[in-house]
Subunit: 362 residues, 4 copies
């Protein structure tokens, strides 16, 4: 398996940015689950460009589920979703196809696949492919919800502008999941938008940080080695385009801490074991401990910018200049949010299967 | 597969901290490769406690390879290494076995496996298990070396004390691989040792950051989705006990950058495509681009400290106090270094197989 | 993975008999391979109904490749093929949907998936799904051909009518691959057709045996345990609907043999090691030995017949009678032939990857 | 994974015939299961040589479980069993190591692994390795038993001597599992023993057929494509050394049948759906239907015989003669029986996990 993920509930994605469809197959979902197409639409909508801070490529994201359903209910067999690609403008890319865009996948794809691997707009490596992840991720999120597990992500940071911390998890997650630009603090949103627009006005782009929380995950999920909860989630999350780092709980700040400061002491509350702090991010020894799982991911600025950049001409084997002309986002952090929720849901759902089995998930 | 890793070259680990052996099976290694037991010893030695800054548990790490070899040469069949556990003092743990140590795996193991899952000294989740990873990792490192691929890790940071940056990669990696306490700057070492000893004198522990570089990795390794090079390496690296974060290239600082700053521009040097900067950490779109792969991992302070801590009594279901008495390290960062090299080597070797096959790796 | 097969080159299938499309994703195929759509058509044509001896359901098998291609050449990314379902007559099945057809998958699907799992015409378990296997199998066959590996299957037996043995492998395989009703002996064909028509005229169906040969497979493919060549091929081949047995080389007749009779003695011919006989079917200890790989599969008579049969009413929980009215084949052996070639090619190609890697397969 | 089997409950085997240990790692077994070492011994005993009809190599089969247990109870972590090799006489093989034994794995191992791959006595491909499978298989059988699932295998045939059919499944399986030479009809046993001794007296060997039944398996286990119950069982069973064919239910005789004869009609009995016949061998569309799963495997005669045979000298690249001198069995069918039970149990247990999960299996 290469472009697949999951042992028990497996997602396989296919498609290129400028082909007819992007798609995903989700295999292993139990039968009898109602698929809420409105929720899929809502999730896809969160991923779509938002006003001035996003690309002007207007994507309709019309989708159809061509297998695995019987009257809107899963029948237990592989579920395939196709999302239409419309508004394709390959011409934008034609002239530059062998002049790889700095920090985009063009060059490494060329090394892996040869010239066939470089397709207009990034081909199979385009961020466009994430529509498929969001579509099947919506189904995973629904199944988790039915088990009392909720996932929410906010924009922790755009450049140096920060959102507030999580406070009341239940209401914070609820609120986030209704927003397109997901912040806990409305004022942070305005400043972030300014930051993005400022980068855009400079023909530039800007990076950021997302923070994701999984609430309601039972203790005991994950394996002590290799298939640790951190290992599996990070494996999935690095498929969100642009992610260059992930940290759980206190994350990189643990490097500065002493044990007495970092340790999460236990106590009983209403008969349940809890911890006073959550520097562990809900995971100990690779296994969930019943506290909320918290992680942050760092997203690089969109590599495609409208400034002239140095690159190479792979055909002529000489240095060259590039001025990208394709439509692109000055920031992808807000759009990456729902992709992060989606792959997290797919990873968590797969791991839950180990515990509950198909019958237990129904 | 749970306690296994790798599609083509697979490692499976087994054993508990206080059992007779810790072991690993390495399956898929081509035949005809000389296994250098001295190098395995050297690597195990790097993992062993170092003077005052480590636990006083003296581990001999006697190992034997009980399958897969024919006169010191791999025969292509599964190679099993057993490492003896000696100097076992289960008594240290007996009284506290149902009082989980804060931020250790005791409690989450209890939730996953029930009372059977809590074994003296952490059982299968003990850092002791990493001897097996280091032993098979040494074999993976040797194979990679024969393909011109070198891996080196230095202690980037202990508490707030920092090592210098990588300069000349070849000599830096060479030097690191001869050290037990791996730093690029000898002066940083002294300060770090002081920091560790200071934590120890407070009955406390201290965290840190490791930085790993992979040089010589050909461009084109990794998959665009899911089995991205970052995804697979991070999946493996979160099995190094205590790791709470990983970042590639510029890592979390990309969140503050604009595209024009973060982008790695291309140029030709002696007929080869290179980048002016390496904020991408050698990976674009999940696939290596021929630049050095660079990543950092955050390690938490050892959770076992000799200070009284709040915990719970899982038997009596009441709050409790814990004063750990088992031997432990005030810092694991320097010892985690070789484990990080080892799992990185296992992950990279497995991914290389996709490209070269068994015949190509011989 | 459930409805997927292969470690390095993976096929995932989806779709139901009466949905809009049947499809497959083929992931791991190297870039730079020309996909011959005419050959795919030719293979699909072999699978289609043939005159009076097949169902009157006329399937067009229009297909499109919606990802993984760049101007007819693979680009190394997942290749998705969709085959249209046309001529759908769900009405045929509506009345009987909870009266499972004897020896069809209706009942076991009901047990696994519940009522949602029973779809008109067998749903995801319909033989119709094999169009997807044949389509991607054609690509696998082409890649194997480019490495000098040829696969051919003939109808060894329909009822008690037998075809002749393989003689000259190269020409026999060539000839078979041009036929729709694949026999080595034209006279056997006539008798087999009579047999099938006779069953049909009795509102009944008839079983048979296929024999497959793989020529040109290099020695050394397969693993000693578990992923033996026999194990992997049989794993794949039991996905050909109706297969109830598989035997390699002398197969079940080895049970009657003495070692001196069964053993394949070695000798040198033109500097190459060969065997005097091939009772081993080209596989020793799970690994190919350079002789042709030969296996036979037993196919049961189509379970859907137009005779009244005893069954149960799963809704009313009483015994019931069933008179199937859907269109169906009196024999599937001749159509199963190309499906067998296809899954064999997929299995062999995946195993070859272990040896050659992606670069070696290009 | 190569020498591993299973998605959720995975077995990995290692070791060579003349090394210190043969071993297996069983990963994924839930915690809290009592491991019955007496039952493991009993199963190993069934595999050991029996009087005159077996090799004179006396194997003690001393084993130890070195991980995964806490006071005889599984703790949920990987369980490793080591079985000692004693009575090793490598000298027997030394002279002939590059003269491959006809129909043994020597030559194909040589092609796969090179000269390193040819070890005395078959190395990793020796039947000796099956001790590890039997040891972990015993644990799988115990878990299945606790879920009401029973597996039994009888010697259906040695040469032309046949055992009777299964009658009362419960008592037949019970009786078989108490026997070393497992037949339903004591008289058949005597004739079979004669047959074996006759082959032995001719310095020859003899093949046979085993028949296995799985009773109590719930309906709904298996997948419609690829991971069909037949596919997964056969994948496992071809790891029993010498197996050249497998057939389910009516098996190869379906090729001669008409649908009206082969079809298993349904009826209700005590509120449960049953079938009048079981030509399907308990599997429809790859999924169990609640009837007993029945399959037969063909075992070739031991390839090592004490008659002179033609072979090649791989060193000198000339034709050669071989007179095998290692100790060997005139028949392996009776010893292969418990290996078949073991791998069947491992395959079935793994598939059950998909349904029940770890929690459901406890």
């Amino acid at each position: 398996m290469k472009n697949s993920f999951g042992n028990n509930i497996t997602v396989t994605i296919f498609g290129e940015s400028h082909g007819e469809y992007i798609g995903a197959v989700l295999d292993g979902i139990p039968s009898g689950i109602a698929v809420d197409t409105d929720f899929i639409k809502k999730q896809l909508d969160k991923r779509r460009p938002h006003g001035t801070i996003s690309t002007s490529r207007a994507e309709e994201d019309n989708f159809k589920i061509i297998s695995g359903l019987n009257g809107g209910i899963t029948c237990g067999t592989p579920l395939c979703i196709l999302v239409e690609n419309s508004n394709i403008r390959s011409k934008d890319y034609e002239n530059t196809i062998l002049k790889p865009r700095p920090s985009h996948a063009d060059y490494s794809l060329f090394c892996k696949y040869g010239q066939e691997g470089i397709l207009p707009g990034g081909g199979h490596s385009s961020g466009r492919i994430t529509v498929a992840l969001v579509a099947v991720g919506a189904i995973a999120l629904s199944v988790l919800k039915s088990k009392g597990i909720f996932i929410g992500t906010h924009i922790k940071q755009i450049g140096d502008i920060k959102d507030r911390e999580f406070a009341d998890l239940t209401s914070d997650i609820d609120n986030l999941n209704d927003m397109k630009f997901a912040v806990l603090d409305e004022k942070a949103k305005e400043k972030m938008m300014e930051k993005i627009n400022s980068a855009k006005s400079q023909n530039d782009s800007i990076g950021g940080v997302l923070e994701t929380v999984i609430s309601g995950l039972p203790a005991g999920v994950g394996e002590p080695w290799f298939d640790s909860l951190e290992g599996v989630i990070s494996h999935a999350v690095f498929s969100v385009p642009g992610v260059k780092g992930i940290e759980f709980g206190a994350g990189f700040s643990v490097g500065l801490m002493q044990g007495s400061e970092a340790n999460d002491e236990f106590f009983y509350e209403n008969g349940e074991v809890r911890t006073k702090t959550n520097n562990s991010g809900g995971i100990l020894g690779g296994i969930s401990n019943g506290q909320p799982v918290v992680f942050r991911t760092a997203l690089k600025p969109t590599p495609t910018i409208s400034k002239e950049q140095d690159t190479v001409d792979l055909k002529e084997k000489i240095n060259a200049k590039l001025l990208a002309t394709g439509r692109h986002d000055p920031c992808i952090v807000h759009r990456a949010r729902v992709v992060t929720d989606s792959v997290t849901a797919l990873a968590v759902l797969d791991m839950l299967c180990e515990k509950y089995g198909r019958d237990g998930l129904k």
